[in-house]
């Protein structure tokens, strides 16, 4: 049996319109299939059907989210756009950060694969986002990993979390990229739907920006990197079994696991090889191969270019025997890239690949037509207008309805919850909160990640934001933070998305950097649920409006739908990443307490706000009411103040409130503090999660000047106390908490659960 004897060619497809094709099994709706037949004027071949089905999937086509995502564009002003070199629609957004440097960053989800196979799912998630950044022409500089799991003590979390963390580390460490931050959040709603988001940031000289375009008739298309195997073609295997049915008892591939295995060593070599190719000016256009593999790379390159493309699929180096054209086009084998190269540069291109032992194969060329034509041993198996595959997929206006329970949820105000009053009870509550899974030290996770490689890491976990140096001569660098509180978003998706933005923005500002751009990863339930679509629409609007208020653009993002078990969706989780620029990383603000004798100030006001709070969750298992009020103007004033310096250390306030911030600041710097709580109600002062607040340490001698600057900037400032050398957090009239006791509480939890 040879594959060629059974291949479904364009000619064969035209001659056999009646053939029954398994489009439903491939996830296409009847009217989508009908549209493909209309576009082509005949039925699609197996290979075409494979391409359209993956490219028109929710994941690749954004068919449910497109109509909402356009709001990001509508709300981005010219001023916000001015420093954007590439935005939504490219592999990753690119921002001009000055001095001739461009920075690109993006988050992507790898949620479901990480549930099926935690290690490989997480590993290939990191690998994929790194290739996205590489495809912009940038050197990848660092990664981050916002993660969410089911309840900390659930048995499945014990399966998923250690595997995910080992996978993120196994891939990133071996690739030589420092991990500079992320999130670990536990909530029962993620049981069965863990969220594994991965962020990568890279930098390049502005003139080296490479976009995914296949232009220039006669230019060659070169596939390089790993061989193509049967990875991740689960869905398309129905075509294979169809094609082969009857032969040798049907060698269908029904049982193929749809997992991909990562090879970080190959990716490391691929990165160095690509950078050498870029440096030598040998690349006209480039695209990574991620989800949808060659289907995506060829159709996107061709449709973004000015001509057509011809590809000889039988030239693709394979790892498995007997692969069909449809399988080769759909394979999600990792560590591959596709480049467009001028004919006169092909030899030099191949030389660089040989030096790095990277397999490179010319598989086609750019043509002057407007068709993507793919042949298999001389016969045409694909002949399509590439835009119809890559950009003109279906668009849905899904029904949007505010969920029926939303009103009751908002009405369920946490004021009714029993609060601790006595000093003893408050002291115990501080320790209990510090030890709770969402607030406890992340060291068990982050110690598995290399933070030092490349020698440019200035801040990393447990700092508020990660920071890397980009230019060694000037000290110019970037800071990034990713945040989201899904409980806030559940209570109010519009405000929740803004609170995520506010926190990431604040974390970046607290590091001493100036926030300049935003990326996101919107993790939601099923778009076919009108309630979920309502959450989605509200969150997008909240984020976009928030960005407009702050004056920083969304440069890209990713949508992950269908995160639900049965009819129960996850908490709506729009993870927001904010990028900041710092002219000289030597001026970064360390996270912690500063020197003994420094004055401790609380910037921002505290109100009685417990809706969606960690305290309500930990102590009462309660979720209801309103999330904390959003005040983006206050966030902006705060950021402006911090950019002016004068601070020796800082730490932002978020989940767990001031109590948690004080505990962490003491433990991170190994110093004590003597503080008096502001306001009349110690419980509110300790645990409220009001936004736009930061704890800062200011040298004693500079305190008066700093508070004057606060007044000028319109930032409320409350004197809390002083930093002490001695080892305790002393809260006046309430509690004396020795650092050792705090440390035991804070550091013991994750090792005990996952040790």
């Amino acid at each position: 049996m040879t594959a060629t004897t059974h291949v479904d060619t364009v000619g064969h497809a035209a001659a056999t319109p009646e053939v029954d094709q398994p489009y439903r099994e491939l996830g296409l709706k009847h009217d989508e299939y009908t549209r493909i037949r209309e576009i082509l004027g005949r039925r699609p071949t197996d290979a075409e059907l494979a391409m359209y089905s993956v490219m028109w999937s929710e994941h690749c086509s954004y068919k449910s989210s497109k109509v909402h995502l356009s709001y990001f564009g509508e709300t981005t002003t010219e001023a916000m756009r001015s420093s954007m070199l590439a935005g939504i629609g490219e592999n990753a957004g690119v921002v001009d950060i000055g001095d001739g440097w461009a920075v690109t960053f993006k988050v992507e989800s790898h949620n479901h694969p990480s549930y099926v196979e935690p290690y490989q799912g997480a590993a290939t998630g990191v690998g994929g986002i790194v290739r996205d950044i590489l495809a912009m022409g940038a050197r990848p500089l660092a990664v981050m990993d916002p993660l969410r799991f089911g309840a900390a003590e659930a048995p499945d979390t014990r399966r998923v979390l250690p595997g995910v963390v080992a996978g993120v580390g196994g891939y990133g460490n071996c690739l030589g990229l420092p991990n500079i931050g992320g999130e670990v959040v536990f909530d029962p709603s993620y049981q069965g739907n863990p969220l594994v988001n991965a962020l990568c940031v890279g930098a390049m000289r502005v003139e080296d920006l490479h976009l995914a375009h296949a232009s220039g008739t006669g230019n060659k298309v070169i596939l390089f990197g790993a061989r193509t195997g049967l990875d991740g073609i689960g869905g398309v295997s129905v075509l294979a079994s169809d094609t082969f049915a009857g032969d040798e008892g049907g060698t269908g591939r029904k049982k193929l696991p749809s997992v991909q295995v990562g090879d970080p060593f190959t990716e490391k070599v691929l990165i160095e090889c690509c950078l050498e190719l870029f440096g030598a000016g040998l690349v006209v256009g480039i695209q990574d191969l991620g989800g949808a593999g060659l289907s995506c790379a060829t159709s996107e390159l061709a449709s973004a270019g000015d001509g057509g493309m011809r590809v000889e699929l039988d030239r693709v180096p394979l790892r498995a025997k007997g692969m069909t054209p449809a399988e080769i086009l759909s394979s999600e084998s990792q560590e591959r890239m596709c480049a467009v190269v001028r004919p006169e540069d092909v030899e030099a291109f191949m030389d660089v690949c040989r030096r790095w032992d990277v397999i490179a194969t010319e598989i086609g060329e750019v043509t002057d037509g407007d068709r993507l034509v793919i042949t298999w041993h001389g016969e045409t198996v694909v002949d399509v207008p590439p835009r119809t595959v890559a950009h003109e997929g279906p668009v849905y206006q899904r029904p949007v309805t505010r969920p029926a329970d939303q009103t009751d949820l908002e009405a369920d105000d946490p004021v009714v919850l029993e609060r601790p009053h006595t000093p003893e009870a408050l002291r115990a509550e501080i320790l209990r909160m510090a030890a709770s899974p969402n607030l406890a030290s992340r060291a068990w996770v982050t110690e598995q990640y290399d933070r030092y490689v490349r020698g440019g890491t200035v801040l990393a976990q447990p700092a508020d934001a990660g920071m890397v140096r980009i230019d060694e001569s000037t000290g110019r660098g970037v800071a990034i933070s990713c945040d989201c509180n899904g409980r806030y978003t559940r209570l109010d998706p519009y405000a929740g998305a803004q609170l995520a933005l506010a926190e990431a923005y604040r974390n970046v500002a607290v590091s001493g950097a100036r926030p300049v751009a935003v990326t996101n990863c919107l993790n939601f339930g099923s778009p076919e649920d009108p309630g979920v679509m309502w959450q989605f629409e509200r969150a997008v609007h909240g984020l976009a409006d928030g960005c407009a208020t702050l004056g920083i653009p969304v440069t890209g993002g990713n949508v992950s739908f269908y995160n639900q078990t049965g009819h129960t969706p996850i908490l709506p989780t729009p993870v927001v990443g904010v990028l900041g620029v710092i002219d000289d990383v030597r001026r970064r603000i360390p996270t912690g307490l500063g020197a003994p004798g420094d004055t401790l100030l609380l910037l921002g006001d505290t109100a009685d706000e417990f809706g969606g709070s960690e305290w309500a969750h930990v102590v009462h298992g309660h979720l209801g009411g309103r999330p904390p009020a959003v005040d983006l103007d206050a966030e902006r004033r705060l950021a402006g103040l911090l950019a002016g310096g004068g601070v020796s250390a800082a730490h932002d306030l978020s989940e767990g409130g001031l109590a948690q911030t004080l505990v962490e600041a003491c433990l991170l710097s190994g110093r004590g503090a003597r503080v008096t709580l502001p306001g009349a109600d110690p419980f509110v002062a300790l645990f409220s999660e009001s936004s736009a607040r930061v704890l800062v340490a200011v040298p004693e001698s500079g305190t008066a000047a700093f508070t004057a600057r606060c007044a000028e900037a319109g930032v409320p400032c409350h004197r809390l106390g002083t930093v002490e050398a001695a080892g305790a957090l002393a809260i006046e009239g309430l509690a004396d908490l020795p650092l050792d006791e705090l440390r035991t509480a804070w550091e013991g939890t994750l090792p005990a659960l996952f040790g």
């Binding site: 071996c174 970080p264 060593f265 598995q448 030092y452 020698g455």
Partner: protein, 222 residues
Amino acid sequence: MRIGVITFPGTLDDADAARAVRYAGAEAVALWHGDADLRGVDAVVVPGGFSYGDYLRAGAIARFAPVMGEVVRAVRGGLPVLGICNGFQILCEAGLLPGALLRNAGLHFVCRDQRLRVERTSTAWTGGFEAGAEIVVPVKNMDGRYTAEQSTVDELEGEGRVVFRYLGANPNGSLGDIAGISSADGRVVGLMPHPEHAIDELTGPSADGLRLFTSVLGSVLA
């Protein structure tokens, strides 16, 4: 003074090692695994990373590279060589240092700021330290558990060839808390922690690691 820094496929900390060399005031010379040529350098650093993915065994494949043949030859002539992390593993695999480095006892990759004691200062790479100095240098590895036959360990201890020892919690289950060792003549040193990540307080926990690189300047010029 010129110090070579070798790059294998999968080497990660070569740029960092080169930066440390420059901070120490020497010239860093890039050496390529496939070239049997040390380009006339006065000392060599075999840096950290995951050469060939460490898929077979840490350092197992890299040690057969053409450049390593030259390193082995030059060591016989007294060339100072420093192996850091994967570089240490490669030197052990190549037989330039005794013993082997196995999977961490905790079975996880461990990255932390590690306290060390400098046990031997009569090596090409530690001459600038005070005997018994305590330093802080990052450790980050998957396979850092130093292991050797008891007789080898006894010999190392007896001859004072343990150069660095972990203080506080042993991060990987290394025998005798051994973090780094040297050849009998003190010209070849291997250690798991990363001195090239401790060359200033901006990007590392201390600047203690820089002293290994300044030490070798002294030892070569002397």
